[in-house]
Symmetry: C2
Subunit: 393 residues, 2 copies
């Protein structure tokens, strides 16, 4: 038994962690574009990095130095420092030296998002350090600074009270929008906690919970050069395995769903719930095929209850399925039931009404087994094309 | 040695084959919506059908009856007769009975494209038969009638003269646009010839040539419920293996490229040429990943020479690659060369100029082996969203 309540402040909500932001001139118009997270003590760190073959320089910096403990992360927008070769990693080193000189940080690391293939503006970023107040607790500013095509900042924090009255906190911020296959839209997530979680559990817990959260809103293997999830623990407070896993999942789920809802130009969030598959892997395959189908996405945008496209997409996903066992529902409205079509004018009007909601579910029961998975997707409309046709300019 | 010249007439260009169309009221405004191909003699038939699990009724009709010879194909637009259960197959039978009664055709078959999950309008189609002139050679009308979201009809024919002066012809028509992963936009193709090709070679030749033509413009396993390619041979004329394979490939390549160029709302056709991959399979994987990437497609639309997206997409394709061996070119303009970025303002202006063309190539040499593959793709703009947001309405 434990109690988990939502609190304000994001990363800054956790005792012993500071965060803030500045405008280093990377974004135009004086917008916040550099952020930091700094801990009072050296923290154990777990992380998941992109499986893209071209991992960005800041990721390679962490791996080359095998950094597993840190007390400072510097984050910049507008430049991914990816495809920048050995020079890119050296550039990270130069910035980290300046950061250490300024703050005395131990093993500071960096996280970047933005355009690929342009050298990191090292001098500009080092100059930007002067604008950071390393004693601040400005979660709002930090979450704002790391945004790229995001239309709103994403952060969350919880306080967990255990049965014995002991407490710990977990706070996080993330950036990412348009988790659309093949996405490449960079996803960054920073989670901090004072829970005394054993160091060796940090990365496995991230990996386990990513499956049903961040990986349910994008597709495995379709990662940008910079995608990263970090988990830092100061181990200063209480710990309970069940409570921590609950809270961590809630944090990751919340941020993943916020990314879908903030899909570039997207207006709707749709849960693609597959059940009755031969196994969970088949359910996952069908669900992700739906959430990533261009034709399904444009039908969502057009609020067109085109269940035929849903069926055809499942049929092409390579999973076992049959017309005689398949059921398709929009929320709870049954439109196709094992060979029977329930889609007269009245049903179509009802289905269209379901689709006019900002959130709804497309539920497909394959009727063959116990496999289930839910993937989340958004619609794709003119706005998406507009944002991505001239992202760099 | 042989001579292959382009001739007019499409399917109708081949002696002994008739074709034509009528307006059965399936499309609004009196547009042509039903077509036929009829041969004077019983023809051997090869075919490739979709690997979608929900194969449409007309495909199941052919397979259930194991039809390998026919002299008549009836084609309708606006209704796919898919997800229509055993009733759908019965409906095909009813139409075929009426067609037989009218024309005396042997093993007539049907091919449909349009909306999924709506019963075939059998009476309307049977009534439409009266509008067909089975002695016509109206390739233009037939190619027009089978269009759905296509913006122009697609047909081609060749006459091949062998060294000994003997001749044969091959003619074809197709429909399909927006071969975009996951496409589901139905692709139909009908090829007829009087070449005396051995019956057992028909299907294998289609399969072999589909790899570098129709399958290079969409993605294996991403097929609609109705995708079909038919090859009918009357065996009345000459035959030469090399000459026939040459002509068949030319026919299929031409129609496949026409489909890309007619991508729904697309303005550009781009060849994604991968070379230097570990093997051909890896090259194919990387090429198709590029041709199907939403972010690459929108960058094409925006005429934005965003080579970083190209690199990131290759990096996420799962093929072996390295920053130290990769080269990226827009046509012959080298922008990324094994760690070196050649992308100053002048290069960017040149790259943008390449992208303003209606056709160009994105060439990526992975620098690791001899594997090569070219996939074809189109841009994705507002028009695509518009067409697909309300396809049914």
């Amino acid at each position: 038994m434990f109690n988990c309540i939502s609190i304000k402040g994001g990363v800054g909500a956790v005792e012993g962690f500071h965060c803030g932001a500045t405008a280093a001139g990377l974004k135009p118009g004086g917008a916040l574009d550099m952020a930091f997270i700094k801990a009072d003590t050296l923290c154990d760190m777990g992380y998941i990095f992109t499986d893209n073959r071209f991992q960005a320089a800041p990721l390679r910096y962490v791996k080359e130095r095998n950094i597993t403990q840190t007390n400072c992360i510097l984050i910049n927008a507008k430049n991914a420092n990816a495809m920048t070769g050995p020079e890119g990693v050296k550039d990270v080193g130069s910035v980290m030296e300046a950061l250490q000189a300024k703050t005395g940080a131990t093993n500071p690391i960096m996280s970047s998002t933005g355009v690929i293939g342009v050298p990191l503006p090292v001098e500009q970023i080092i100059a930007g350090l002067d604008g950071l107040d390393f004693t601040a607790k400005d979660g709002d500013g930090a979450a704002q600074a790391i945004m790229t095509t995001d239309s709103y900042p994403k952060q969350i924090a919880f306080e967990i009270t255990l049965e014995n009255g002991e407490r710990f906190r977990i706070g996080a911020m993330a950036k990412g929008a348009g988790m659309i296959d093949p996405s490449m839209a960079t996803m960054l997530c920073f989670i901090v906690t004072d829970a005394a979680i054993p160091a060796e559990k940090l990365t496995p817990l991230l990996q386990e919970n990513a499956k049903t959260t961040f990986n349910a809103v994008s597709v495995d293997g379709d990662r940008s050069t910079n995608d990263s999830v970090f988990l830092l623990s100061s181990a200063k407070a209480a710990y309970d395995e069940e409570a921590f896993e609950f809270a961590l999942h809630k944090v990751m789920e919340h941020l993943a769903l916020q990314m879908v809802q903030d899909g570039e130009g997207a207006k709707k969030m749709v849960a693609f719930e597959i059940s009755g598959a031969k196994d969970d892997a088949q359910a996952e395959r069908a669900a992700k095929k739906l959430s990533n189908s261009l034709l399904v996405k444009t039908a969502l945008f057009g609020e067109d209850p085109n269940w035929g496209r849903i069926a055809s997409t499942i049929g092409s996903s390579g999973v076992e399925c049959s017309e005689e066992t398949l059921q398709i529902r929009f929320d709870n409205l049954l439109v196709y039931d094992r060979g029977q079509v329930y889609f007269d004018e009245a049903a179509e009007a009802k289905a269209a009404k379901v689709m006019r909601q900002e959130q709804f579910a497309v539920k497909c029961d394959l009727g063959l087994g116990e496999g289930a998975f839910t993937a989340y997707g958004c619609d794709l409309g003119y706005e998406y094309v507009k944002i991505n046709a001239d992202y760099r300019t």
